[in-house]
């Protein structure tokens, strides 16, 4: 019970008390310390053997043991624990009775009496010979005295309906000690406690030296003057409690209490020096405000300060500003990092690549063959390719698929071949994808021959430890999707046929998108997945390191054909990446792989330079050699990152705060508005019961209405999408005024209900955005930025204010922004 004092105030109190410890307490502590130091060695003088209370050793000549044993301890922890427990108790005793009395008692009866009791029980009743030592016997003795004192002042405390007498509390401590502390002497403690109880009852009063004699000694020797920290026996003249205030006002207590009780919550420590153990439920559970210590009341005063209620709007504005500024700081050198290869097994660019030489002729031959196939149907093309690949000695298979999406049907046939690893066991595979047409609809003129040439070339090497799958798809989106779905058995077998031939778990995929006829200058790495998912950064780093470092060609990302690695270009790259991530579209054949946890990129050669197809082949060869080295799935590097140059990135830990701050602004405002709703219009009328029903119902109704456009957009045919979008944009415009007219006319909501309405909406918005930020950072940030004004909207009194507010809000609503962008883009194209 006593331990429930505020820990902070206890700390300050203990500091103050150390300064004012009375003399005998100091001496006792010093004695314990000295004996411990002496006891560190055993060779010269074994203190413990000399001074412990060993029942068989105690004879007439060794009676000193009865007095020395409390000073001697087993080890360091024993000594420290006992000092900590003893000091406050002994100090209380000494300040009450004086130094001389304490000296006389503790060197006399308080050491010997428990010792005699212990000896009697241990030696004559139990016939044992257990040695005891340590000051804990005094601790229990003093606890016994204090408990009796507390019992007289406050007979019981209450736990539930039961009242428990206060004098029993040391017994609880005794039992707990016996149970928890190993090798503690229950009997020794008990004998100390018994003496303490007797003393507290006043039975042992006759043991105390007569006060007159003590006063005489004190006066004669002038102990008061000579000894520092001496406490007089004379209660009336120099009384220990003379300086204590009798009132319980905290201000006076704080100033005049010299003994270090000043910063304790007054309720916990009764001011008249009573032990707080006993003052019942009120102390343990609560202490009312008027009696708090200065520190706590300061905090409370701050909490009550009306000015603090003005802070949240500014705080939330600050969150938005910091979030946006943070975003714009990211491209700086101090906030972004250089990329590095985290998975050491990859070793990119560490091997010689041998693709070239006569492979050039093979490539030309295949190119001739494939260009003859251009313009034919999917099946004819696949027939032609199948003959070629079969000729290489690879297993070939085909897959039919038909998708129906947004009212259109996508069908085709994939062709793929598996090169079984000479050094592997078909448990892992890497994929090389060549789509017959890229996302723009251009025929992959060089890409398909390159895939065929590489297949022939890879077949010759014996170093592959993973199967290699060559996949040729009719287009860049649906074909790879159908194939990956079927590979992982996640397909609808009515529309997409299953794969007759399979290999192991896919470890990575590289797609070639090479429609360009002439020689190229650089490689463009496309890495955006569906719904904003990204491949492991190590894969991109490997490609960059092989193409840029080993082969010496340029590498670019996010269609930044020119990049000077300065702030504006970095920012532009990052924003383009974010926009793509936010829109979540598939950007190439690789996009379908990423949801299945297969890291994939598309490589697009571009520009006019002197790099030929063989160089591109070498880049792919190097990348495949790196992937071939992998011992486990790519997991080391980052999955969440923003690239701002091919060798510079920020990781999630650095960029996420900006989206989270923007989401947090809504939560802050929600909490603020919730608090506002409690306070009625006149000041100081809190605890108004909130009318939750209307706001809760309205917000949940509106939120659940969002299911309708979601499912409509999901299932409508493609041609119906623009009118449907226009319809919902109009509804979006019309719904707020209609709803507010209905609401005011029908329900006449109070100001509180408006507050709650906004509070709940913002709370949900903040929650959705922070959940979304973990999945698709960019989308969350974009929506969050557009929704920012919602934090600061307040009911307006004038009609003009309402109209302006409405117009402004509708202008930046996400649907309206989509219309703006679409419209501007349309004009731009015209």
């Amino acid at each position: 019970m006593a331990s429930s004092i505020n820990p902070l105030s206890w700390l300050t109190a203990s500091r103050a008390r150390a300064r004012a410890l009375p003399l005998f307490t100091r001496a006792a502590v010093a004695g314990i310390v000295v004996f411990w130091i002496v006891g560190v060695q055993k060779a010269l003088w074994d203190v413990r053997a000399w001074g412990a209370l060993v029942p068989d050793e105690v004879g007439l000549t060794s009676l000193y043991r009865l007095n020395t044993f409390p000073f001697i301890h087993l080890n360091f922890f024993h000594a420290v624990m006992n000092i900590l427990a003893l000091t406050p108790l002994l100090e209380r005793f000494e300040t009450e009775y004086g130094t001389l009395t304490a000296l006389a008692l503790f060197f006399g009866p308080f050491a010997t009496l428990p010792a005699f009791i212990y000896l009697f029980i241990e030696k004559f009743l139990l016939r044992g010979n257990t040695a005891v030592m340590g000051a804990s016997i005094w601790v229990f003795l003093l606890l016994g005295i204090e408990a009796m004192k507390a019992y007289r002042a406050n007979p019981s405390f209450k736990v539930g309906p039961y009242s428990i007498p206060t004098w029993t509390s040391p017994i609880g401590i005794l039992l707990a000690m016996a149970a928890l502390v190993p090798s503690s002497s229950f009997l020794g403690h008990l004998s100390g406690l018994v003496v303490g109880y007797l003393c507290g009852l006043g039975v042992l009063k006759f043991l105390a030296p007569p006060e007159k004699a003590l006063r005489f000694v004190e006066g004669k020797l002038n102990l008061m003057g000579r000894l520092p920290h001496y406490i007089s026996v004379d209660q009336k003249k120099y009384g220990r409690f003379g300086v204590l205030p009798s009132s319980s006002s905290p201000a006076s207590a704080g100033i005049s209490m010299g003994r270090g009780y000043s910063s304790l919550p007054a309720a916990a420590w009764e001011l008249d020096g009573r032990w707080p153990m006993a003052d019942g439920k009120q102390t343990c559970l609560t202490s009312d405000q008027t009696r708090l210590g200065p520190l706590n009341s300061g905090l409370l005063r701050l909490r009550r300060d009306p000015r603090i209620l003005k802070v949240p709007p500014y705080l939330s504005l600050l969150c938005i500003l910091v979030g946006v500024i943070w975003l714009f700081l990211l491209p700086l050198d101090d906030y972004s990092r250089r990329t590095y290869i985290s998975e050491n097994a990859l070793l990119p660019g560490q091997v010689h690549t041998y693709f070239g030489g006569s492979d050039q002729n093979v490539f030309r031959a295949y190119k001739h063959e494939t260009s003859a196939l251009a313009g034919k149907t999917n099946i004819e093309i696949n027939d032609g390719l199948e003959t070629i690949i079969k000729g290489l000695g690879l297993k070939v298979s085909r897959q039919n698929f038909t998708y129906r999406s947004a009212g259109r049907e996508y069908s085709g046939e994939n062709l793929y071949a598996i090169l079984q690893a000479p050094r592997g066991d078909a448990t892992e595979a890497i994929v090389l994808v060549g789509a017959w047409e890229n996302v723009k609809g251009e025929v992959n003129r060089n890409g398909i021959p390159l895939v065929l040439t590489l297949a022939r070339y890879f077949k010759r090497w014996s170093l592959w430890s993973k199967d290699i799958i060559f996949l040729v798809t009719p287009d860049s989106i649906t074909g790879p999707q159908a194939w990956v779905d079927a590979y992982h058995d996640a397909h609808d077998s009515a529309r997409v046929s299953s794969l007759p031939l399979k290999s192991g778990a896919l470890q990575g995929a590289i797609a070639i998108d090479y429609p360009q006829e002439e020689r190229f200058e650089s490689v463009h790495v496309v890495y955006d997945g569906v719904n904003g998912q990204l491949p492991n950064l190590d894969l991109i780093n490997s490609v960059v390191s092989i193409a840029g470092g080993q082969m010496g060609m340029g590498v670019s990302i996010q269609e930044m054909w020119q990049h000077d690695d300065r702030y504006p270009d970095r920012l532009r790259t990052m924003l383009r990446g974010m926009l793509k991530q936010g829109l979540g579209l598939a950007s190439g054949p690789h996009s379908s792989f990423i949801p299945y946890h297969v890291d994939a990129v598309t490589l697009q050669p571009y520009g006019v330079g002197w790099q030929d197809e063989m160089a591109m082949g070498r880049v792919i060869e190097g990348t495949f050699r790196s992937l071939n080295n992998l011992l486990e799935h790519l997991h080391q590097s980052f999955f969440f990152y923003l690239l701002m140059q091919r060798e510079r990135f920020v990781s999630i830990g650095t960029y996420l705060p900006s989206a989270m701050l923007i989401a947090a602004n809504f939560t802050i405002m929600a909490i603020f508005l919730w608090h506002q709703s409690q306070i009625g219009p006149p000041p100081n009328t809190p605890a108004v019961e909130r009318q939750l029903f209307l706001p809760l119902g309205l917000v949940s109704l509106l939120q659940s209405l969002s299911v309708i456009p979601l499912s409509l957009f999901h299932h409508a045919p493609e041609s119906a999408l623009p009118p449907l979008f226009a319809l919902f944009a109009l509804i979006n415009l019309a719904l707020p005024p209609a709803l507010s007219a209905l609401l005011t006319a029908r329900y006449r909501p109070s100001a509180q209900q408006y507050h709650l309405l906004q509070s709940f909406s913002l709370l949900l918005l903040g929650m959705f955005l922070s959940s979304l930020a973990t999945l698709n950072f960019s989308l969350a940030l974009l929506v969050g930025l557009l929704a920012c004004p919602l934090s600061f909207v307040r009911p307006s009194r004038t009609a003009a204010g309402r109209v302006t507010c409405y117009l402004l809000l509708s202008a930046v609503a996400p649907t309206a922004v989509a219309v703006w962008v679409w419209g501007l883009g349309g004009w731009g194209r015209r």
Binding site: V159, F639, F693, L763, M767
Partner: protein
Amino acid sequence: MDGGKVTLGRTAGLYAGAAVLRLALFTLFPGLPELLTGRVEISTPVTSFKRLQEGLFLYNHNVSPYDGGVYHQAPLFLPLFSLLPSFASWPIFTYLLYIAVDLLGAAALGKIADSGEAGSSALFQSPRREKRWSGFVIAAVFLFNPFTIATCIGRSTSVFTTCAILHAIAKAVSGAPFSAMVALSFGAYLSMYPLLLLPPLLLLCYDRQRPERAMPSGLRFAATNVCVVVSVLGVLFPMSYLITGSWEFLPATYGVQLTLSDLTPNIGLWWYFFIEMFDSFRSFFLAVFWLHLSCYVGGLTIRIRRQPLVVLTLLLGIFAIFKPYPSISDSSLFLALVPLYRHVFPLMRYTFVIAAIIIYTTFLGPAFYHLWIYAGSGNANFFYAITLVWGLGQSLLVCDLTFAVLRDEWEVERPEMVGKEIRQI
């Protein structure tokens, strides 16, 4: 919210509405039950419907259902579900069973609420007790709680335990100790942990005895009722033995809960801890965790002796946080009982924060689980962090409710302190 007369028609409408909603979810979205059954938030190893089907298959093919280590539920489920027409061809009967169990639970909850026990028990009358919600509202809150609906659609077998506990309390409140003890024994038989509710439930029964056959001696009363529990369990266990033909079910059901041998992730705090732990410490920490879970029973029962229903509520909240295999079903049971304390809501201090935390974690939990399991871009720490926050939200609610109830009691003792700000130290 409590305005308007609660007529029989309105109540019937409520139950019909809840049943129709569930039936619609079952039938209109055929993928939904399967989806929810697979969610770790709903199905734990000891309540999963999928595992029940596995056990049922083995049982119907005369193999011990506990072979294979998948099925960890009570043996009596097996004959119950075998009696129903096969789930594969007639799922509707299973659906109807689950809906009926939910409605029965709600009916019991309504009875508890209408008894007014929450506001005025035998030993304590709250000055605020006038402000309360009727059984109709409280049953509605339970029936339309998304957690309850999700549990029902996910067909977790914990709905049976929930129903048993609610009936035990309802019977205790209406002065039928024998039925209460029988219901509690069924709960304990199904999931073991309800046995810890025995002490407060005994007190509740004792306080609400009917005067015409009251047993004044507390000790005799307790002994009689403990005997009832023991004898009911003494019938259920041999029955289980007869059904499965061996005592294997004891280690497979209760043993799994006691030793946490299945470490499938769930929303609780145990699985991650025991995955990370070295085997040599396992038994020690198992003991510590169980001791921790059960140590609240004694303390709360003594401290809030005057309001045993509060103890039951708080304990259910604590179990929902610290059980070995908790799910949102346990939270829904706790959240069903919380509205009974409408009268102390004004004394609670963190309602908004608690609601915000619970809603946030409800959305972030699945998102992080997705990142961990499906996207592969997160790891187990993501999900565990959210389960910690979920536990924090619930423990805040438990603490805040405790505070409000104690404050309510305290204001009766110290009328001069009503409305003044106090501080917990």
